[in-house]
Amino acid sequence: MGLDCLFNPKSVALIGAAHTEEKLGGVILRNLLRFRGRVYPVNPKYRDLMGLKAYPSVGDLPEPVDLAIIMRPASEVPGIVSDLRNRARCAIIESSGFAEIGEVGLQAEVKRIGEETGVRILGPNCMGIYNPYKRLDTFFLPYERLKRPWKGNVAVVSQSGAIMSCLLGALRTSNTGVSTAVGYGNAIDIDEAEVYEYLADDKKTGVVISYIESVCDGRRFIEKAGVLSEKKSLIVLKAGKGQSGQAAAFSHTGRLAGRYEVFHSILKQFGIREAGDFDDLIDATRALSYQRPSRGNRVCIITNGGGSGVLASDECTAQNLEVTRIPHDRAERLRQIFPHFYGINNPLDLTAQVRDEDYILALDGLKDDYDGFLLIALPNVPGITERLAEMVRAAMVKINKPLVFYIPSGGVARRLIAGLERIRIPVYPSPERAVRGLRVLLDNPTVKQSNSY
């Protein structure tokens, strides 16, 4: 694979390695000590750094490396990249001080040197790579300050390093593991489209989330995002929604063609999923990371509180999901096994007198009549216990359809939620968020338009 030197390097050099974590070059070196591969700190002032032998220059390294990480002032970067010819296959330029502060000429020079030397470049002004499977971590953020997510199947692609750190923090909090994370910054060489191309074939990745501020080549972006969407779940979060069209445009069309409106429309045209906001992105990511999306839009809501069921049902309507009636014969059967005061409708109301096993009886009875299930367990009643998680696990084998929970806090909630998430059932803290989580799992990305591509 073309970008293996970046995502799966065997050897890494750090240009700008430092002896202390008070410097960013020291933080990166500390994080690289965990790497399952060879690490070469480069710094002419030291003979060893954090227990590793240090090298005065790239030319002194014992072997050409797969990946060079550059953490030196912007003005030195052109010279460093030039020295990497035949010494490194790719480079992450983490330094800032390029086009983002108006240094367009310096950035163009680095780009040109990269092309001349044949060294593939990620960045500049970026965080680089986190790959928990290889324990590769090029971020200049200490572990104490940013707890990384566990191993998992979500690839995080972010133009911004700061947003990347927020995404990783939120994914960890929501029990969602990552396969890799890449911050590509100013993207003078490797851009989001090329990363998508790599991830489409990455076996560890099942879901890709991508934070985008702008794309250089919209058509290439759409093409690669389309290919990726056919193989994996891709969710895009776009920042900069307020930018309007050109006020001075000659045509009405030009005045209406706001950058975001165009971006949004074209994502839809090609069936690429877009998250409405940050929370929506994290909620959707967890659902897609835990469960396999499937077809259909008939939802069954099983609840132990009538009001919560109605709120969920309302959100289903808003999300174009159908809360269809329980078929007559099924309803009859459920009436025979449940107490007379249970509400045998959809939502199915198990009332405050619910017992754990009622959810399973309901699921067993209705599993063939619906495409997805939303279970609501208000944990403040004695009948809800943490045993419910184990029971759902057994039932899921037979159901094999998307299933999510809404559980508010209180009672046994914490342990019940932990038990459910361990068996890959996403649990949400509000009925509406639970419905939107289920929506993602039932949302077959619209069929790609048969365009002239």
């Binding site: 759409i222 000659f250 030009g254 209406l256 063609a257 950058r259 429309s265 074209i266 045209q269 002239s452």
Partner: protein, 237 residues
């Protein structure tokens, strides 16, 4: 690409070639091009500045009243802002008055006299070159819907028939096209043809901006009531 599409591109290149060095065109020129490409425009006559309407006497008799007269200028972006449209002209006397009045407007290069189109559902079909995506097309409902609610959708050009239908269905007011309440459904195929044609023109990269605004949709057919166009400053590949 369809044979029709390839043929349209030749006609566009020919049009731009004939007008080399010009950035924007007058309404009757754009409409002439659209007519060549098979789209419907109202029957009309362009009177250049300094030419007397009486010189067109026999041709006017080919048009049926009521007529509409509109100021033509590559420097006027909104005709209504300069009071540049006179509608409901019923006879030759009114026509003469309207034309001479419109010729007085600053920057006027002439007046376009057309048959008044019957009432139809008004939509906008346009195209621009987007900074990130290159040539794109836009579709929306006209009038207050586009002004107030910005109920428009965009698509990457070119679009085929399926793509054009997708674009039409993106707007919130789509049901109006299907015949909401007592209205008759409009001719969706005619609208699709317009969108496909405009998207094909945009995809050449030769056009900078184009507005077909409004396009009147009828139970049968669709007529481009106003049109403007500029050529691209740089050719987008």
């Amino acid at each position: 690409m369809t044979i029709q599409g390839a043929d349209n591109i030749l006609k566009l290149k020919d049009f731009i070639g004939r007008n080399r060095g010009r950035g924007a065109f007058l309404e009757h020129e754009v409409k002439g091009l659209l007519k060549e490409l098979g789209l419907s425009v109202p029957d009309g006559i362009f009177i250049g500045k300094g030419v007397q309407p009486s010189a067109f006497g026999p041709q006017f008799s080919a048009l049926s009243y009521p007529l509409v007269a509109k100021v033509s200028s590559s420097r006027i972006t909104s005709k209504s802002d300069v009071n540049g449209v006179k509608t409901g002209i019923r006879d030759e006397g009114e026509l003469r008055d309207a034309v001479s009045g419109l010729m007085e407007i600053e920057h006027a290069e002439g007046v376009l006299v057309e048959e008044m189109a019957p009432y139809g559902l008004e939509v906008i079909v346009g195209g621009v070159i987007d900074e990130q995506f290159g040539p794109i097309v836009m579709f929306g409902l006209g009038g207050v819907f586009v002004e107030l609610f910005k109920d428009v959708a965009f698509g990457l050009a070119p679009l085929n028939v399926d793509g054009a239908l997708w674009l039409i269905r993106q707007i919130k007011g789509y049901r109006l096209l299907e015949g909401y309440r007592a209205r008759q459904p409009v001719d969706i195929d005619a609208l699709i043809n317009i969108i496909v044609t405009v998207s094909g023109l945009m995809a050449t990269g030769l056009i900078g901006e184009i507005d077909l605004n409004p396009v009147a949709l009828y139970a049968r057919g669709a007529v481009v009531l106003d049109a403007k166009m500029t050529v691209a400053v740089h050719k987008v590949v």
